[in-house]
């Protein structure tokens, strides 16, 4: 009783959100959704099941009846019902599901087509399944991710990274490529195929594309399947020279981090004629409208419904209810993470922006109800980088120069005059002081518009081609992962627990805690502080607050960043994971910047709270339940060259057993295999070097009696020394780090410039040889300096 009462979250507004109840023990990770002519809903799931749901629009969501009609499919990330025939996009094929005897249970699965490639990579999802007027169906295919450079998606089987058309006879016609993880599809009102993609390499944020046959959408991996392109794996880092097609929308990162499908609203509700977009990570639904400027499609988007759950696939029912199929397994997102949500319109129209029309000198924004007075409008414009890095921060952020705002006589539209609009930017407008005559405030007061083209002007890319950043894994970036592997190893922990946490939708001031490694949960009074100190650097972490919860990050320079459950800046709400990045400095003593989900919320804040020596970084639970994780610290080490000299060794003296070695062009010594190599050297008392390891094994470097661990596997991780193991995986696989060991009265180990070990041992760097031992791994050693 309590459960059913509370799971119905009243927004106190035009929409109510509730959830259908699958049979006990069943988990519906919805990938596709459609409706039979009798009103039954049919959903396909990531578990390869197909469920038929009778009475999905029942007043009491518990009255909907679930029947498992098919199972054993190879995922079901898309479903279409055509004339009461059910089609499912499996990872491996497009299938028609047939009930031979009329009992609604599927008896036969007919292959429509399998004409696309699969390499066997886990990431090669296949999505779908819009159907156009002619009965053509559309599927979209992910690229694969391989180690060690998983952030460079690859297309290693035909048409990975493409959208394919399947004709009613089952013939496959490739439409266009250049996609990365095109997880959501849809159709424009005119039948043009829409595809959403997911932020990552070559995708600065999540885009919406209106697909043109033969066009290229920006991710180079799939270029090899174009007839006029060579069938080779393109460069990981160099942008291709092929012309890119523009998206119709770039979705702001703070609104969408994993975009699902997009549908046209044909209901009699307030958003008829516009498009709704599912968003998984933030668990919400966005709304969009498009317009054609000199033949170029582009448009505006808004938030539509917050706190729905991890919405992957949305559809409207015939009664106007918006159903959201939910899944987030392995991806993470707002609770709930499975099932079906209903967003039910209560018939009371909200005050919303209904359209944003671009003019040469600004926008005309229309409203669903007349406004009482002229609103205040402010705004920003920005663009992105198009590069191999995973996503792009906002670039070239500028304030919009709003000259004037003029409300129309009927109060239904405002002309916003802006001086500095330009093509190749996204605009974020904020409307304040907007109320309608019935007293409603604007339900969502921000509008984002993607300007590919100004009226009469030239086309310009919002995602700008830039010089490729240096390949990851080619130099010391200084990042240390403070909570990987043994999450507490480099922390003094007071009550924080390692677990999985998800917001309890029945009591959102709490988390549902289960065993797992995905979160560190602190309650009021719990804290973790580093066992080491730094003076300056960048700290990154992800955090999630339960309702009304609060936490603090104590910075070394005395500054404190407070995390509260207040709907402002980049903060999205309780139960949603946020990414926090804080840069701090000692001289001058400032918090240089704070970003929440890439939205700058503070910069150059002077720290007045004086501290004599740097404090440990401390994460404190202040109120309620807070979850955090993946705490990273970047503290670039000072150059080793100061009073050190580069170690010289003669490769003719190397003695290797069980390993192969080479000196690379850059001078790196690369040791591979299982065994050791002994290098005679002159005696020394301090050593510093850059190193990285790749492979599933471990390595050590012995300087006399001092053995330094270099490993991302096994018990002793990079940075540990004899008798003083490090159990946290501070440095990632295939990432360079700088290790310095100094012996005076004590032995000190510095990792990326941070003193992580101090020990009163006898001198152990004695002897005149270095022994590198590797087990099933490849160790790189660069720039060995000694003193």
């Amino acid at each position: 009783m309590l459960l059913s009462m509370i799971t119905c979250i009243a927004l106190g507004s035009p929409f109510t959100i509730d959830y259908l109840s699958p049979p006990e023990g069943e988990v519906l990770e919805v990938g596709g959704m459609g409706f039979m002519s009798d009103g039954d809903m049919v959903v396909s799931t990531r578990r390869g099941q197909v469920w038929r749901i009778h009475n999905p629009s029942a007043n009491n969501p518990k009255d909907a009846v679930f029947t498992l009609i098919c199972e054993g499919l190879h995922e079901g990330m898309g479903l279409a019902v055509v004339d009461d025939e059910i089609f499912v996009a499996q990872r491996c094929e497009l299938s028609k599901l047939v009930d031979l005897d009329g009992d609604k249970i599927i008896d036969e699965i007919q292959t429509v087509t399998q004409d696309w490639g699969m390499s066997g990579n886990y990431h090669e999802f296949g999505f779908g399944l819009p159907v156009d007027e002619d009965g053509n169906m559309y599927v979209s295919l992910n690229v694969g991710f391989w180690n060690p450079h998983w952030w460079h998606g690859k297309s290693r089987a035909p048409y990975r990274g493409w959208v394919l058309k399947v004709t009613p006879t089952g013939k496959v016609e490739p439409v266009a490529g250049g996609f990365r993880s095109p997880a959501g599809m849809g159709l424009l009102e005119d039948g043009t195929v829409l595809v959403t993609d997911n932020q990552g390499d070559w995708m600065p944020v999540c885009p919406v594309y209106a697909v043109k046959e033969g066009a290229f959408y920006g991710h180079p991996a799939s270029l090899r399947w174009y007839e006029d392109q060579p069938d080779v794996e393109p460069s990981d880092t160099q942008p291709p020279t092929v012309k890119r097609e523009h998206p119709v929308l770039w979705l702001p990162y703070q609104w969408s981090r994993s975009t699902g499908n997009i549908i046209l609203d044909t209901t009699d509700g307030p958003f008829r004629g516009q498009y709704m977009i599912a968003e998984l990570t933030n668990g919400q639904i966005l709304r969009a409208s498009f317009e054609t400027i000199d033949g170029i499609l582009q448009g505006a988007c808004w938030l539509a419904h917050k706190r729905v759950g991890s919405a992957y696939h949305i559809e409207y029912g015939s009664d106007g209810t918006l159903y959201a199929g939910i899944t987030n397994r392995g991806w993470g997102g707002l609770a709930p993470g499975s099932g079906i949500a209903r967003v039910i319109y209560n018939g009371d129209p909200p005050l919303e922006m209904t359209n944003g029309h671009l003019l040469t000198d600004g926008f005309v924004i229309t409203f669903s109800k007349p406004l009482t007075s002229t609103p205040t409008v402010t705004g920003e414009k920005y663009d992105y980088n198009w590069w191999w890095e995973y996503g792009s921060p906002i670039q070239n952020l500028e304030t919009l120069q709003v000259n004037s705002v003029t409300l129309s006589d009927d109060g239904r539209s405002a002309h916003v005059s802006i001086d500095n609009l330009e093509a190749g930017t996204c605009v974020m407008l904020k409307i304040e002081n907007a109320t309608s005559h019935d007293g409603s405030a604007l339900r969502h007061n921000e509008m984002s518009y993607t300007i590919n083209k100004m009226p009469g002007g030239d086309l310009a890319y919002v995602a700008k081609q830039v010089a490729p950043p240096i390949e990851r894994g080619e130099h010391v970036e200084g990042w240390m992962y403070l909570t990987w592997a043994d999450a507490f190893d480099v922390w003094t922990n007071d009550g924080v627990i390692a677990c999985n946490a998800e917001l309890d939708i029945d009591n959102p001031t709490k988390f549902v805690i289960s065993d797992g490694p995905n979160a560190l949960v602190a309650r009021s009074g719990n804290s973790m502080k580093t066992k080491f100190v730094v003076d300056a650097g960048t700290v990154k972490l992800k955090y999630m607050l339960a309702k009304n919860a609060a936490a603090e990050i104590q910075l070394p320079n005395g500054g404190v960043v407070a995390l509260t459950d207040d709907d402002q800046n980049g903060y999205l709400g309780s139960g949603i994971w946020h990414e926090l990045e804080v840069k701090f400095d000692d001289n001058p003593r400032v918090i240089s910047s704070v970003e929440v989900n890439s939205v700058r919320v503070a910069s150059d804040v002077a720290v007045n709270n004086r501290v004599a020596t740097p404090l440990p970084i401390e994460i404190r639970g202040i109120k309620g339940e807070v979850a955090f994780g993946d705490v990273r610290l970047q503290h670039l080490p000072t150059e080793l060259t100061r009073e050190w000299k580069q170690l010289r060794y003669d490769e003719n003296d190397f003695v290797a057993t069980g390993v192969s070695w080479q000196i690379a062009d850059a001078g790196d010594l690369i040791v591979d295999g299982s065994g050791s190599i002994t290098i005679p050297v002159q005696p020394f008392s301090a050593v510093g070097f850059d190193t990285k390891i790749y492979g599933n094994g471990t390595a050590t470097i012995a300087f006399g009696n001092l053995v330094v661990d270099v490993a991302t596997h096994g018990k002793n991780k990079t940075g540990g020394i004899t008798g003083h193991p490090i159990n946290a995986n501070l440095v990632g696989k295939n990432e360079w780090c700088t290790i310095e060991v100094i012996e005076d009265s004590q032995t000190s180990v510095f990792l990326n410039g941070i003193k992580i070990i101090t020990t009163d041992t006898d001198r152990s760097i004695v002897g005149s040889e270095i022994v590198i031992s590797v087990q099933d791994a490849t160790l790189h050693l660069r720039r060995v300096f000694v003193k």
């Binding site: 054993g72 491996c92 036969e108 699965i109 292959t111 399998q114 886990y122 999802f125 592997a485 390692a498």
Partner: protein, 315 residues
């Protein structure tokens, strides 16, 4: 240096003493098998408590699991707890015991641990296991190499019949790779982000041509015909796999509906029955490991052929 002396005394006793303390007498016998309880007290109780209540003598940042509450991190089957015991739980103080205890010792201690939970409900079938009930079942997914050294098949197909036999196909040319007996399949792709291969659970009783068979169909001229999956059907007692036979130009030679079952009364022989609707004549080349009841040449028209596979002893 003290412990060295003690060792010396012990070894002296071992060689010559007649009066021995009780403990040492035990130590001299053949290595005793430690009970699960003894192993538990030695390795687990310090954190998990003697009674399994999670209140051991060692204070941990994250309290050890109370087995009395019946919760286990990664499942409560013997296999699941054994796996946790073997590998430890990264990010927690639970260490791996793989190098400390033998597999048998781990099983014994796990059986002891399971006794702590008051009402240990066996999770069967477990959440990701697909079970064949009264109807046949079909599972689509990647299938791992059926034998070491063979390939993973991104497109795989398992047909499970209610009699406990299941049939493993690679889909690209619809070839039966092997026949299994026992439980059906673990949907390992239901965990994590998905995308991992299925785990067929049955024991392989027939491995067709070492698990990597050649194409079975040719035109009369000896040109290979390609089998292309048309459908799977679970509406009758045995699962049916239907496919078309096409030549390189896409011309259809025949449609074949294939079912498999043990021959009546003799479980050691399994027949793969082909109901053929041939538009053009063609040839069947059966696996070297099998026999067929009729001629390899199939004329146009409706025909059946039965290919018989001999099963290994499955026990």
């Amino acid at each position: 240096m003290q412990y060295k002396i003690i060792l010396l005394i012990c070894s002296t006793c071992f060689l010559g003493c007649s009066e021995q303390p009780k403990e040492q007498a035990v130590a001299q016998e053949e290595p005793t098998i430690q009970t699960g309880e003894e192993i538990y007290l030695m390795y687990c109780a310090s954190c998990h408590g003697q009674t399994g209540d999670g209140k051991g003598l060692i204070e941990l940042d994250r309290p050890a699991r109370s087995f009395i509450d019946g919760g286990f991190s990664f499942g409560n089957t013997v296999e699941a707890i054994a796996k946790t015991t073997r590998s430890g739980i990264p990010g927690t103080p639970m260490p791996p015991f793989v190098d400390v205890l033998t597999s048998e010792e781990i099983i014994r201690v796990v059986q002891h641990v399971r006794q702590f939970a008051p009402t240990m409900k066996e999770v069967l079938p477990n959440e990701t296991e697909m079970v064949v009930k009264e109807r046949p079942a079909v599972a689509r997914g990647m299938i791992p190499p059926i034998q070491d050294g063979l390939q993973l098949h991104p497109r795989g197909l398992l047909v499970g019949n209610p009699d406990g036999l299941s049939y493993e196909y690679r889909v690209d040319d619809v070839r039966l790779l092997g026949i299994r007996q026992g439980k059906f399949v673990e949907r390992t792709d239901w965990t994590g982000r998905g995308g991992s291969p299925l785990k067929p659970l049955g024991i392989v009783v027939v491995l067709v041509e070492n698990g990597n068979p050649n194409g079975m169909f040719q035109s009369k001229d000896g040109e290979p015909l390609h089998a292309k999956l048309k459908s799977t059907n679970v509406s009758t007692a045995l699962g049916i796999v239907q496919y078309d036979l096409l030549d390189d130009e896409g011309k259809i030679y025949a449609t074949v509906a294939e079912t498999c079952k043990p021959t009546t009364g003799v479980r050691a022989l399994i027949e793969q029955q082909l109901l053929i609707h041939a538009q053009k004549p063609f040839l069947i080349t059966i696996p070297t490991t099998a026999t067929m009841d009729d001629a390899s040449a199939v004329p146009a028209g409706k025909h059946t052929r039965t290919i018989i596979h001999a099963a290994r002893e499955s026990n």
